[in-house]
């Protein structure tokens, strides 16, 4: 076991699965890079963020395919290839760009199996960067996994750390359903213990990041770290948080969330996605319907305001939910019961 970055964990998962199964291919814009350039290099980039580095060298042009800038075509091709024998892993750089190929994901990939009465399988993965904090502006900073979670037929993974990133990606590649895989651009360099060998982190199984008895804090992706930071600070105030990382938003481990809420009686849901119809509202609704009798305080949701992601640094910092905002929400749920 060694300390590896989130980026390295993703890269390792891709390599291991490509070695294991030669039906696994990788495609996307500049996943190798350098095609036709005057320097005549085989792999100029290995992905715009270096996530696919070394793949071209090891697996060659038949399994590592650069694409023109044509998301509709290559994401659609991913579906066609998956239905007919390959196990493609596409990279759509930023999730924001899936706007271009939304139909292929929403009406093709998500529907095909059901519409065909279960006759088709779509073992494909679409990897995308998401999230704010990069000063990248409104079209390069969105979360959008709630949109894909909304669509039946898709699985959605949002890993929060290098260990889960590797294990979830391996599960996603081995899974016979389409998986949309979200990588937060602000944690690509984050390090953690990652076993060298291949392993699976199951899709649909939450991780209890920190056990506690007073308040359940469910957080998604990068927000898990905000929740952990808040929990550490709150512990000093005598508030004991249970932090849950669902790891996938579809399937969602509702059992783990509900068990925790029934135990603590309080819920704070933290999501970096826009606040309307996001994972926080979804999880709040779940608790309201299934664990109402256990709730000792109104559910609190911590999300950005309902605005696009601003460019200017102070505005973006204000926009992103942070540990202070999480802690504030937790305190509010605790206060509510003691004063009523």
């Amino acid at each position: 076991m060694a300390s590896k970055s989130f980026r390295a964990a993703i890269n390792e998962a891709l390599k291991l699965e490509m070695r294991r199964d030669n039906r696994v291919i990788v495609l996307g814009e500049d996943v190798a890079g350098g095609r036709g350039g005057s320097a005549n290099v085989e792999e100029a980039w290995g992905g715009p963020f270096g996530m696919t580095r070394g793949l071209y060298k090891e697996f060659g042009a038949t399994r590592v395919l650069d694409t023109p800038i044509t998301e509709s075509a290559f994401v659609g091709a991913t579906a066609g290839a998956a239905m007919t024998g390959l196990r493609p892993v596409a990279e759509v750089m930023f999730v924001d760009f899936t706007g271009v190929c939304f139909d292929q994901i929403m009406n093709q990939i998500a529907k095909i199996r059901y519409m065909f009465g279960g006759k088709a399988k779509l073992p494909l993965v679409i990897r995308m960067l998401y999230g704010a904090g990069y000063r990248a502006g409104a079209q390069h900073s969105q979360c959008l996994y709630p949109i894909y979670t909304h669509l039946p037929g898709l699985k959605v993974a949002v890993p929060s750390n290098p260990h889960d990133a590797k294990g979830l990606l391996i599960s996603a590649i081995r899974d016979d359903d389409p998986v949309l895989f979200f990588e937060h651009k602000a944690i690509l360099g984050m390090k953690g213990e990652v076993p060298d060998e291949a392993y699976e982190v199951p899709l649909g199984k939450a991780n209890i990041v920190r056990a506690g008895k007073d308040v359940t804090v469910v957080a998604i992706g990068r927000m898990v770290h905000m929740a952990e930071k808040a929990a550490a600070a709150l512990a000093k105030e005598g508030i004991d948080c249970e932090v849950i990382d669902p790891r996938t938003t579809s399937p969602l481990d509702t059992a783990a969330i509900l068990a925790s809420v029934r135990k603590t009686g309080r819920l704070v849901a933290v999501d970096e996605a826009y606040p309307r119809c996001n994972m926080a509202t979804d999880i709040a609704a779940l608790a309201a319907q299934e664990a109402f009798g256990s709730l000792r305080a109104p559910v609190r949701m911590v999300s950005p305001p309902h605005v696009p992601v601003p460019f200017a640094a102070p505005l973006e910092d204000l926009y992103i939910p942070n540990a202070d905002k999480v802690a504030e929400a937790v305190r509010a749920t605790v206060k509510h019961t003691s004063s009523s």
Binding site: I69, V100, A138, Q139, A312
Partner: protein, 322 residues
């Protein structure tokens, strides 16, 4: 040559200001003070200048992620642009957009764009407005060689032709889309050949040659303003810097850029062209360069000193009314 001395001086001033703006940004970006993604236009100035020389405020352009040159050529305020790039309240978009989203509708500038290929569809709409409202205006979409392969672009060209819109599709074929050469990514080799498929005239010009760009655009605007429909112009040249600031550019040969700067540079070429024709003396052009340097220097200083947007700005501008 059909351009007056004033027109030529103006064109050179546009190129000089673009060059200085982006050369300076290259230096300033390295200090770490500029947030986000910045894509420089240096090396492509003759395109923005030659195209926009035919446009006024009633005409619209839609730009790309590599938009600084288009903004300057469309007469956007450079101080406001610089402040925007620094994320300051005085920026053209109040600091909410950044380099990739600079816009100024009063100047007919419909925005840089973070989504490759998206501007072509917007331009169909602007051209439709011009046609429907009878403004006499035209609308111009700038797209890269990489962007030329997006489905939206094909759809927009077809729509513009079917509706006979006063739209002009300018393709800046600068050799690369990120780290991939257009030679590899463009089936058929030339973008200009696609014009025929959509029943519009196509021009392919040397993008380092201001006069060639200018002349192609003259024909395209005449046609559009006469109600005869869209045109396509493919300009070929190369960018001087990486895809974005920070790009190691290991996909291009080291000598490529040196050769470009030494032998192909559009500003040197312009100087030679007007000099040979005895139209403008060197001193006048040098004076323009000096002015541009001072202007950009002042813009950088102002941007650095300017205040960031207030917290209240986070919640404004989402809706016109809610």
């Amino acid at each position: 040559m059909q351009q007056s001395r004033d027109q030529l001086l103006k064109a050179y001033r546009v190129m000089s200001r673009i060059r200085e703006f982006d050369e300076r940004l290259h230096v300033e970006f390295a200090t770490g003070e500029i947030p986000g993604f910045v894509h420089l236009y240096a090396g492509e100035e003759a395109v923005a200048a030659g195209i926009c020389a035919h446009l006024s405020d009633r005409d619209y352009i839609a730009s790309t992620h590599r938009g600084h040159g288009h903004c300057i050529a469309k007469d956007c305020d450079v101080t406001g642009m610089m402040a925007e790039i620094y994320g300051k309240a005085a920026g053209l978009c109040g600091g909410k957009g950044g380099s990739m989203h600079i816009a100024d509708l009063d100047k007919g500038m419909m925005g840089a764009n973070g989504i490759v290929g998206a501007g072509t569809a917007l331009v169909c709409g602007a051209a439709l407005s011009a046609k429907t409202l009878g403004t006499g205006g035209v609308a111009v979409a700038f797209t890269g060689d990489g962007g030329s392969n997006q489905g939206t672009v094909f759809e927009a060209m077809n729509l513009a032709s079917v509706w006979s819109l006063p739209a002009i599709f300018v393709f800046e074929n600068n050799g690369y889309g990120e780290a991939t050469a257009s030679e590899w990514a463009l089936a058929g080799g030339d973008i200009v050949r696609r014009a025929q498929a959509f029943a519009m005239p196509g021009h392919q010009v040397d993008g380092n040659d201001y006069f060639a760009v200018w002349d192609a655009m003259r024909q395209a605007t005449e046609r559009a303003r006469a109600g005869q429909g869209p045109s396509l112009i493919e300009c070929k040249m190369k960018r001087y810097y990486g895809h974005f600031e920070g790009d190691t550019q290991n996909y291009r040969a080291k000598e490529e850029i040196e050769t470009l700067r030494a032998e192909k540079d559009c500003m040197k070429r312009f100087r030679a062209q007007v000099g040979e024709a005895g139209l403008i003396d060197v001193a006048a052009l040098d004076a323009i360069d000096a002015e541009a340097k001072a202007e950009i220097d002042a813009a950088v200083k102002a941007a650095k000193a300017a205040p960031t947007p207030p917290a209240s700005a986070l919640m404004t501008d989402v809706y016109a009314s809610y």
